[in-house]
Every structure is written in C-alpha cells, then in structure tokens.
C-alpha cells in the first residue's frame, strides 16, 4: 500500500504545474 496514493496526488499536481508553465512560456514565445 505504501505512499502510492500521496505520490500520485503530488505527481499529478507537479505535472499540471509543469504543463501550464510550458504552455505559458510557449504562448509568450509566440509559437
């Protein structure tokens, strides 16, 4: 059982943060 649930939540949050950051930089760069 371990810490899988918590790691998943933290992983999803981090992934969402990275996606939005890339999107922001991509939009600013005018791609």
């Amino acid at each position: 059982m371990g810490n899988k649930k918590e790691l998943t939540v933290a992983g999803l949050m981090t992934a969402a943060a990275l996606v939005i950051t890339i999107l922001f930089a991509w939009l600013q760069a005018g791609f």
Partner: protein, 439 residues
C-alpha cells in the same frame, strides 16, 4: 456532497490557486515574451512560489480538511509538494544561467543587485525550511524550536520573493500580476491570522481543567479533563486533539494526542499519554486543577461508516491502544454489539495499558481480546512474540474480509500488520492506519 467529491474539489481549488498567477498571465495582456527558456524559468519560479505559499494550509489544522481527509495523507502530500516547490524555485536561476551565461553576475549574493539578492534570500529560506524539516531528527532539533524556525523562514519566503518579483518589474509591472500576487498573499496572511490569532482567541474562551490523573502503567497516564464554563464539544471516537497544559494557546507548545474516552461523555475528555522523554515526561508530575486548552477534535474516522457494520479488528501496539479505547468505550456506551477482535501487542504484562478497563469492556461488548507480549513474564494464556500472520489467520473468523481493520502503533508494527492483512486478502478500503507519530 460525498467525501470523495469534496476531496477532489479541495484538490482542484488548491491546484487553481497554485496555477492562478500563470493563468492570469495567459489571459491578460502581458509585456512581450523574451524567449521560451527565460519565460519558462519565470513560470517555474512563479508556480514554485505559489506552491510554497500554499504549503501553510495543510499545517493550519482546518476542521473542514480534517473532516474529509486522512490528515496523515495530507501531511505526506504536503511534504512531497514542499520538495517540489523548492526544486521548481531552485531550477529558476539555473535555467536563466544556462540560457544566458551573463546571469552569472547575479549569482554572487554580495555583488548582485538587490532584486537578485531578495530572490536568493527567498530561495535560501525555502532550502533551509526543506533541510530542517527533512533532517529535523538527525539535526536533533527540538520540535518547538524547529516550529519557530519554520515560522520565521516561512515569513521570509512570503516577503523576499515578492520583493524579487516586484523589483524585476517585468510581468509584475502589469496590474493583473500585481493583483494576483496580492490575492495569493491575502490567502497566506489570512491563514496566518487565523492560526496564530483567531484560533487561539477561540481556544482561550474554551478552557478545560484537569479533573483527574490516572496512572495506567509505570510510564503512561490518562488525564481526565472537564470543561470550564462551557458544555464541552462533540467528537467522534478515536479523534485527535492538540493540547497545551498550563500555557497560553498563543504559544507553539501544543502536542497532538488521541482521545481515549467515550464519545458519549461530553462532560469529560480523556487523553492517555505515554512518557516518551519529551513534553510527555511532565504528565506524571501534574497535580490536577491545571488549565488545558484543547484544539480539536480532528480526524475523519467514524465508527458508523457503512463498511464497518459487520464488526472490527483492532490491531494496536503499546499506546496505540488509546484511540481503540475511545472506540471500545463509545461502543459500550451505545450498547453496540458488533463483534470486535482486539489484538494488543505490548512488551510484557507490566506494560499492558488499560488492562482493568479492557476486562470490564469484555463484559459489555462482543469483544475477543488477544494480548501478544514480546517478553511475557509468565507465558500461560498469553501469546508470545509479535502479532503474526499465523495468529491472525487462526483467530479471525471466516467472514474476515467483511470486518473493518484499524491499526494503530509504531511504524514498523503498522508495516508488519499491513503485510499480514494483504496476505489474508483484506481489501485496502477495509483498513485504516493511524501512525503513532505524525508524518
């Protein structure tokens, strides 16, 4: 709304607040972008800072959160996201440097301009918080000293990165970015005011006094509190509260303990506390009559969940039996006849806490009690060693998968019980774990 949906909603709001500065920057007109990597690094800094700021919420002990979440899970996610926020912020100057080697001039904190120095102070504080939190026990930092350091560093994290953002004054030159950071700061300040001022004022108005101190064993006491000038509060069996004895609720000296008494006795609150050498060593010296402030109750566990209707298996080690006593007393007061199997691991006969109470409860409940002693003085009628798979397999009934399992004890014991339960085929949703020490 169902608990699961509420949890999703809370995580969604949390994510929205973290991402809000970037969302605002995508929606509102912004100064022209520089290049992808530079803006990517700025974005990471923003999202990392918003994430670091929101780390305060899980530790603020908000009732609505503890009602829907297992707080141990929340603390673990909080620890992971704290590390993530540090990494995001730390990567910000590294990407800037790789992208433009000229940035090396800003890496000397003594000669760098103030806008960069403020950023370094913020990053340094964030790193120090992470290091002192992860290595607290290795560094032999007292919990309350660490708490004080944590608060000071948190204040530095709230102030210096914002000075950095405003002095760089690129995206922060726009009203939308100014407003969004003002909103983020409002949340941080609001939480601080709530935790440090409003909640202690509320606790001050709800004092308790120590009515009785019961010596359970040579190193464990139960303190019985009675409400002073108020009616007490409702709680569920096995919930937790933070208490401070003979000190102001404004101090940081609060310690979490499980309630060990019946949820049907609103006129008294019981906490059973074992001497672990810290604050707990002073419990035996209390005389009675002391004022106690109780911040609680917290905890989402409820004896009456639909998946608990066929009975319980309690697995406890040492003082891990305290929340179980709360459940047993609550069930006895409610004349609840659901079957209970209680496997109780202790060192020897002298260390069995609540023995007298348990024998009384055996008469009132459908309770099957198994003492498992590591070093029994007289091995007759006692199980020797640790709570093992074989013992559980032998004593648990055929319908074992329909029972609800509650484990409370030190971490190695919880790990051992988890693997026994997996081997017995008990589904995960039928198991609740309470670690003896908070994560």
């Amino acid at each position: 709304m169902k608990k699961k949906n509420l949890r999703l909603l809370v995580w969604a709001i949390y994510l929205l607040i973290i991402l809000l500065p970037l969302i605002v920057m995508m929606v509102f007109p912004m100064p022209k972008g520089r290049d992808f990597w530079r803006d990517f690094s700025v974005g990471l800094g923003f999202v990392g800072l918003a994430m670091a700021g929101m780390q305060f919420i899980p530790t603020a002990r908000l009732r609505f959160l503890s009602d829907i979440f297992d707080m141990d899970h929340v603390y673990k996610v909080h620890h992971y996201l704290s590390v993530v926020s540090v990494l995001l912020v730390a990567v910000h100057p590294i990407i800037l440097l790789v992208n433009n080697p000229y940035v090396i001039n800003f890496f000397n904190p003594f000669t760098a301009p103030w806008r960069a120095q403020a950023g370094w102070i913020g990053l340094g504080s964030l790193l120090l918080i992470a290091i002192t939190s992860v290595l607290r026990t290795d560094l032999k930092l007292d919990y309350n000293a660490w708490h004080g350091i944590h608060d000071l560093l948190a204040a530095a994290i709230a102030v210096f990165p914002l000075i950095h953002i405003s002095k760089v004054n690129y995206y922060a030159s726009t009203a939308a970015v100014k407003w969004v950071w003002a909103f983020e700061v409002l949340i941080w300040v609001g939480m601080t005011v709530y935790v440090r001022i409003l909640k202690p004022i509320f606790l001050l108005k709800r004092p308790f006094t120590i009515k009785e101190i019961i010596e359970e064993t040579w190193d464990t006491w139960t303190i019985v509190l009675k409400p002073k000038g108020h009616a007490g509060f409702d709680f569920n069996a096995s919930q937790v509260a933070w208490i401070n004895i003979n000190s102001s609720p404004f101090t940081l000296h609060k310690n979490p303990f499980s309630i060990s008494g019946s949820a049907h006795r609103k006129d008294e609150l019981r906490f059973s506390i074992k001497n672990l050498g810290d604050f707990t060593s002073s419990i035996g010296k209390l005389k009675g009559g002391e004022t106690v402030y109780v911040d609680g109750p917290y905890g989402s566990f409820n004896l009456n969940e639909p998946n608990m209707q066929n009975g319980f298996v309690f697995l406890a080690g040492g003082i891990g039996s305290a929340p179980i006593m709360s459940m047993l007393h609550t069930m006895a007061d409610a004349k609840d006849q659901r079957p209970v199997y209680f496997f109780y691991g202790c060192y020897d006969e002298e260390n069995i806490i609540f023995k007298k109470d348990l024998e009384e409860l055996r008469k009132k409940l459908d309770l099957k009690l198994f003492y498992v002693l590591e070093k029994p003085k007289s091995p007759q009628n006692i199980y020797q060693g640790f709570i093992s798979y074989d013992l559980l397999n032998e004593k648990l009934p055929e319908n074992r998968k329909e029972l609800f399992y509650y484990i409370c004890g030190p971490l190695p014991m919880i790990d051992a019980m988890e693997s026994h339960l997996i081997k017995l085929g008990i589904p995960d949703y039928k198991v609740n774990k309470e670690k003896y020490k908070m994560a």
